[in-house]
Subunit: 310 residues, 4 copies
């Protein structure tokens, strides 16, 4: 049940469903979990930035983790454990694994600059959480302000056997995937799983460059599943046709500060969660934005029945 | 001939054409200028980041400015004059206006943080170049690391009558346009022209929020002209159909470091410039990237004849 | 017992004493607390960056807080509650106050840029922890990358009655103190306590500009107490003589990454704590650095008997 | 006359003297040059940030460079050539060397993050200016936001024979000097000159760690000359006594934004330049700050006659 370097497919980034009054919506949590897994997702990543983790207290975090892990059965759950210090990271990581998680995800703190600082940080993180816990290296320079070269990623992978996956969301990142796959082909880096985030904005080409799948929170993860399958099957034109139909909405989601609001709105419109509510502080959709999303859904509905929401 | 707040349409961000050996390609410069204006662009913005301005020496900068301004006839030419100090900014601005430019564009230095620092910087810039030169305020937080609230933009506009245009490329930015237009509607900010950059990634909705047009370097500025016209004419669905067809390529251009390489490649493939060459240092397209661009062009060509390049 | 705007004197930033094997050193914690208070400190600030808070787990944090608060008797203890999310901040703040803390300290997250973002953040923080908890606004641009103008500080103070103190560590900061005191003199900002950090590097002039005291972790807090008293008594030359004698060491402590190592080394040499050990990851003093500190102590010992450590 | 890796002593960072009305003060420029060299400085560095270079137009820059170089006779003049693009850097560097400069200084642009980006930038800079021009590598992370490890500096030195000097102003930086000197001792890096900046705040220990001298703009460069000589002669206590007497003022100068104002004020008070005027925009000393500087000078005058200014 542990995450390893053979992971493929879609690991959806899951939001945390709330009632309008801010309480955790447990029924929606179950329904969402069921939906994601029935849609073909191989796993879920929870308690990341998208999951509003900083707005949950420790007891709530543990409770929702356990609920999702239990509900998910054989599917793999990855828990975000990034924290300002290693003591909290260790507690989160050990607690998550005890609850049945498949692995954890670690983002770099924004203060890291030099290659050595980044490599050292991950060595210390592994020492803190224990080398027995599989972890995902999150590479998202636009958000974290930390730039990892392919060479630095290789050092981390080679130094730490428990690094089994890269959440790739560098931008631009196509050449990076090719370079990393080239390292493995030439034997200078052991194989790892590469799942792509960054909202899926380049996913169709990322798959062609050698990615294993997606790890992002786009509100149509069922489309991501189809896309990954089409791409893996070599049906290039069909994959691009599907992707291009969704691209206007994928792009619309890529707005810092309100991206989660768009996602929750669409998930609620699809009936997957009960409410688009976020705990404060959270970005909100104005009337104009709601109308724009509805227009995009209507246009998407012309070719994808899943977007016909009545 | 001076730029003013009534400016509308497309002001294309122009690259600087080079021969493969690094010399400025004057024939391509003329051909490109003709093409842009015949395509319906109202103006051009030159010597910005996209124009590889830092790779030109002072004599070359002046020469190419004069050449384009002369060739452009009645069309308005805006010259980027951002510089590390006000002495250089003043020299560039006065020299450009003497050569016949319609106005200048000023980006904020990346060290600015507080609201007051930003407002003060533009006051000093106007004092340096002279209050008689119309200028464009460039608002591109993702690149410059400077965040201007709508309130700060209003202060700059109200304090400086020579600020006639906003190059809007905040991301996300739709609500910002609505807020700024709301300021003018309520009478708290005088009207200015708002042209949108950021590669055009949200242009179809930006027009609907009240933008006056586009100022970006997408390699199909003729499409931007059509889109702006359709949107202005209220033909919403047609505007979105056109935009969506181009979005996969627009998105592909939005890759820091290689975006200009993609643009020059496509412009060269279209025969608008003679070579995709950049002066060093410049991002380069690998074979995989070239094949991806060609695939995108082929797909685009199914609905837009301008992309059928044989 | 609550912190309020009349606070004066020295609130020492306390390190967390560890045994060489990483366990919390409770005997040293008691001895250090006694020493600081007998030296004349009005209070202590614990669980800040200097206190290695991120290396403590939740149970340890709570335990050491309670221990120090109990030991400190009537002295005021301020607890650092900066956290990546408001849920954790609230839990820390409520828990600290329940344990008997006098107030809490909140640093801004490094992502804040615009004036409004900063003001909004503190409004949300107060909403999260409750308006009944007195808090210290920490203004340390060099470390946090957040720049607050005097006007922004005034907005925070006026909006939030529970903001009773500024930990002033802007650099340069002398004019800022004068401006803030001017606001209060002119009636546009209610009075707050201003205690100075930044290692004490400008403390002698900061007192003359109107500061109420010091909040820093210099390894001779007994000297800080003397300096604040001399300055308050108008004995300017004596205050500067004392300060200047310590400045070479104060300056030596002002080295990011190893500052805490210097402080713990000197505190251990003075017998105040049992060991200079830090939990990993921590900056370490090499042999050259130790020799330099010893040389500085020997020189200081010529005029200040407290530095004659045998 | 070319700068090389044997350079030692003090290369003072020179301000640009202006009249109160903003014109360049040529008489002061000559007097200042004479003073610096008679004080024992081996050279001068001009047109850096401290020299208000961005406020000079191209003709002024060239004129003042020529004036100082001519006046300086055999002393070595280093010219700052950092620029937003390589075209301008090349023009400045070639022009300066033609005018008789001994070498140039290059700071990294603030956008550089990874080790490879930094190394590549300097390779490109050398290609742009020519491998025949000796250059100084400026390492000032606090100001430029670029962090170079000792390993990166070694790569730059080994890759580029024309890199002959490091302007060391990392903070903290004592271990860095030791590490770099260790590289040379073990034979993994060729010898370079290391001169220390950062206002001189750690100069007494930097000399003991192996630095060759100072390159900073402290308003008593004659003191820096004495300090470097004492330290080189092994007169440790005397060197520290001298340094400690000046440290309160050295520290006071270390205030971003007004540091240059303090320096020009003191240089004017000493009669070295005619006016403390800066061209706009420039930090200004308020009445309180002037009084503080005067107080520091009076205290310094008790032990150093050079500070008795009547």
């Amino acid at each position: 049940m542990r995450l390893d370097e053979t992971a493929k497919g879609v690991y959806v980034i899951a939001p945390t469903p709330f009632h309008d009054d801010g309480r955790i919506d447990e029924a929606s949590t179950d329904r969402m979990t069921d939906f994601f897994l029935e849609a073909g997702c191989e796993g879920m990543t929870i308690l990341g930035v998208m999951g509003e983790a900083p707005k949950l207290d420790q007891a709530e975090s543990l409770e929702i983790s356990r609920r999702i892990i239990r509900r998910a059965g054989d599917a793999k759950i990855i828990v975000g454990v990034s924290a300002p210090g290693f003591a909290a990271m260790r507690a989160l990581a050990r607690g998550s694994m005890d609850a049945g998680a498949a692995g954890v995800m670690i983002a770099p703190p924004s203060t890291l600059r030099t290659d050595d600082q980044i490599v050292t940080y991950y060595a210390q993180a592994v020492q803190a959480i224990g080398a027995d816990i599989p972890f995902v290296l999150q590479d998202y320079p636009l958000l974290f302000q930390v730039q990892m070269t392919p060479g630095v990623i290789r050092r981390i992978v080679q130094d730490n056997p428990s690094c089994v996956m890269l959440k790739h969301e560098d931008w631009p990142g196509l050449e990076k995937i090719s370079t990393l796959r080239g390292y493995t082909a030439e034997g200078s880096m052991r194989p790892i799983s590469i799942l792509c985030g960054n909202g899926g904005l380049f996913l169709e080409f990322e798959m062609e460059r050698g990615a294993d799948g997606a790890m992002t929170g786009y509100a149509f993860p069922d489309m991501l599943v189809d896309l990954v399958r089409l791409s893996a099957a070599g049906q290039r034109d069909a994959a691009h046709d599907l992707f291009d139909a969704h691209l206007p909405l994928i792009r619309y989601e890529q707005q810092f500060g309100i991206g989660l609001a768009v996602r929750k709105y669409v998930l609620a419109r699809r009936g997957i969660i009960g409410s688009a509510a976020q705990r404060a502080p959270g970005g909100k959709l104005g009337a104009r934005a709601v109308a724009e999303v509805e227009y995009l859904l209507a246009r998407l509905g012309r070719t994808d029945a899943r977007a016909r929401l009545g």
